[in-house]
Symmetry: C2
Subunit: 478 residues, 2 copies
């Protein structure tokens, strides 16, 4: 059904331009969004080719030579980023055609999404002219591409390190937020595409591409509207058959639909129909950007669950009770451990019966030898499918140790060992910090965990929902 994963998909050239020109960089502009922002982003990520700037009068901006127009650039240009006002776009497009440009990314807004008929007509005319000339358009009204392998970035701070997660997003901000939240949890990206109004290249094109892209193993998406429903449905089915897919669809309420129409001129369509489409395609639909990140982390690190049975391990009676409630409410099970497991645990813990039944809340977790010794019997238990370890910094026991940094490294390594030797996923919930110190510790522990191959979540509740989503996805694909 899909192209063999070793072939390079047709659209691949858009992610690998050899040179870029940016039109509409203000001479006084610093960083941020817009023309100047793209200069910084591309410099930060280490774009390998030349960057040319187009400016009517400035000789140079940020040390980069400016040309009055695209036609004045003495070298070949593959890719143009437009940050000029909408009314200048038709002329810029003509220049692109003259110079043999292959891709025009329109950061420029002010087209169909304004609700103005004249501006909608202008967008259609630009698309028609570009197609006629064989130029592909990204946008308008979007942040464009983040593609580490091609050293393209849409925002500053995006890492040059590539990874298996591809994203299709109708919003640049939500693409940026996805990357920002997913990165510290160990998610690295293959291609992230913000396509805005999708006047030429649309969601369907990018789903098709990511389904075939050998760099991409997991696909996530943020969609506001449905363009060319049957084609999008085919593309999501193709992607869903090839790889794990999760989609956040906004415009699920009347207020959201109206906002989506203002934002990217999107017709949100019926959520029920979209939900049915996802189910048929074996794609997960999620309800929030947080859940999209959580599911990506789960696809990446947990991959598969044999069943819904969780053992909860961590300090704090009150947290244990709420954990059991949250996990059960998410559709998981927190079964009592079997007598043989409890006997094994009784050998390593001081506590009497109830603390080792599940949830596990024992002081042995805070002893150097006790941590792994407490977790291992849980991983070996025949009625358990996944181990959830929860902790926090700044409050509870972890905050108290003078040797907290080596201790958290040892914990992460022990958790990896438990995951490997036990043959069952171990996931880690790190409750949010409230002080700068404990925040730094949480981030460090989070990194130690994902570098040891563990999924991390900011709460037990979110871990539970993400695991339940993985089970739901597995059922879709049965």
């Amino acid at each position: 059904m899909t192209t063999p994963a070793t072939a390079v998909p047709e659209l691949d050239f858009i992610f690998h331009p050899r040179s870029i020109a940016i039109a509409g960089v203000s001479a006084k502009e610093g960083t941020g969004f817009g023309g100047g922002g793209f200069v910084s982003s591309l410099q930060d990520i280490g774009f390998r080719g030349p960057i040319y700037l187009i400016h009517p009068s400035a000789p140079a901006i940020r040390g980069i030579k400016c040309y009055p127009s695209l036609r004045d650039i003495p070298d070949m240009v593959d890719y143009v980023i437009s940050s000029v006002p909408a009314r200048f776009v038709p002329q810029l497009l003509e220049d692109c055609i003259t110079r043999g440009v292959r891709v025009l990314h329109l950061f420029t807004a002010g087209f169909t999404e304004t609700g103005d008929a004249e501006r909608a007509k202008m967008e259609q005319a630009v698309v028609a002219r570009a197609r006629e000339a064989g130029i592909r358009l990204i946008g308008p009204n979007c942040m464009g591409l983040y593609a580490p392998s091609g050293r393209l970035a849409m925002m500053q701070g995006q890492l040059p390190e590539a990874g298996p997660v591809g994203m299709v997003s109708q919003s640049g901000m939500n693409a940026g937020e996805f990357v920002r939240y997913a990165t510290p949890r160990g998610i690295r990206c293959s291609k992230v595409i913000s396509f805005g109004n999708g006047a030429d290249l649309k969601a369907a094109d990018f789903f098709d591409y990511l389904a075939d892209d050998p760099e991409t193993e997991i696909i996530v998406a943020y969609l506001e509207g449905i363009q060319d429903g049957p084609r999008l449905a085919r593309a999501i089915r193709k992607a869903g058959a090839a790889k794990p897919v999760a989609i956040l669809k906004s415009g699920r309420t009347e207020a959201g639909s109206r906002a989506a129409s203002s934002h990217t001129a999107s017709l949100a369509g019926s959520l029920q129909i979209f939900d049915g489409l996802c189910r048929q395609a074996g794609a997960l639909r999620v309800e929030s950007l947080e859940e999209l990140v959580d599911v990506a982390v789960t696809f990446r690190f947990v991959k598969h669950l044999s069943g819904p049975n969780v053992v909860v391990v961590g300090g704090g009676g009150g947290a244990s009770v709420l954990a059991a409630d949250d996990l059960a409410a998410a559709g998981l099970q927190v079964p009592p451990l079997l007598p043989e497991t409890q006997e094994e645990l009784a050998k390593v813990t001081h506590e009497a019966g109830t603390s080792i039944r599940n949830p596990i809340d024992t002081t042995s977790l805070w002893e150097d030898q006790g941590f792994e010794a407490t977790l291992m019997p849980c991983a070996r238990a025949s009625n358990i499918d996944v181990i959830l370890y929860h902790t926090s910094f700044g409050g509870g026991p972890m905050g108290r140790y003078a040797d907290i940094r080596p201790r958290m490294q040892r914990q992460a390594e022990s958790l990896r060992k438990v995951q490997e030797d036990g043959g069952k996923p171990v996931v880690v919930a790190i409750r949010p910090a409230t002080t700068g110190d404990s925040f730094e510790q949480s981030v460090e522990f989070q990194e130690a965990c994902w570098r040891n191959g563990l999924a991390t979540y900011p709460s037990i509740d979110r871990a539970g929902r993400a695991l339940a989503k993985l089970l739901q996805w597995q059922r879709l694909r049965e």
Copy 2:
């Protein structure tokens, strides 16, 4: 129905001991939970009376003189904290009786919650003997009291500054987590009570007390079980009639009930019955500790909403669309602004029509004069009941300014001015940070906001749910 708020409720003496003795401080123990933890907590918060330690052999611990037994302490002792093993509690109680102690706080666990019949009997015997002698027990199996006015703390880092929020909690950890998460959002506490098994003093006693306590204006609670249902119902009704009340009831699933029984020997009871009780009492039931904090912040800073109509203001088209969805899904409204409001906004913003309809997403927000000028027409709009401003640090526009600290102070002051002059609540959603720097900035902005009388939330979704909860609570009390 309630005692006049100027009278001092009967139970008030437990929060104002003149001297404390702690039994069961290990000589090698540092900080953390247990006996030594209480020493640190009381020293940190500046307990005003003498602290005596009871230890069989050590001459002094942490510079505080130790006595072999309570009977050897030469002065009067009002309040005893027990961290000795359960089997030593009966003798300690006899000593308390001999010495005229008024309150015995049993941090000591290992009673009914173990599920062992002998230990349950021992708990009952201790209660009977204490009652006979006129001593009140807190616990067993609990962290006891945090009461700034009496300079009592159950954990380190709890502030001596008092405020209007009282808490009844069956879990010390969840009490501590509530305080830890609520403090940076401007919540200060009157009395926080962790009562564990509630063998003598129970949830009902503390609801009764907080209803009458002139220091307490808002009551929150975490309950695992229902002890003496009719009396608890009366106490919640009394509290709910006097003050805003929000309750997190765990054991809402079978797994949670089992965990609650292990933790504090609680019988969770039917959630439906408890829900009905809350509705009759005009008390809000919430589903998570996060929601309990959010609702406390809402009671404290928003206080009242005239209706469900929100205007959403902040940068980012994608965030605006998701915001509209989340708020509508929570049961609020995001109505289009009226033509006259849009005309006013058009005077201060550069953007065309759709960005000023609601949600508001304009670049004028990032200009010095534009911020207040954009917000004020929203606050004056006749079809709007509450203004939700959203931002983040480390990503979007706020992260880009060199003068970020004075800028966030000015923003918080402008938001206060809009709230005061517009006569409508302004709430602020600050999306989570992912780096140390941006975390520090978020915390600073959060503090600037609450010091200017504004409610803050860690996401638009949580702000929306909390506002919807306030409306729900208002309807309960109509």
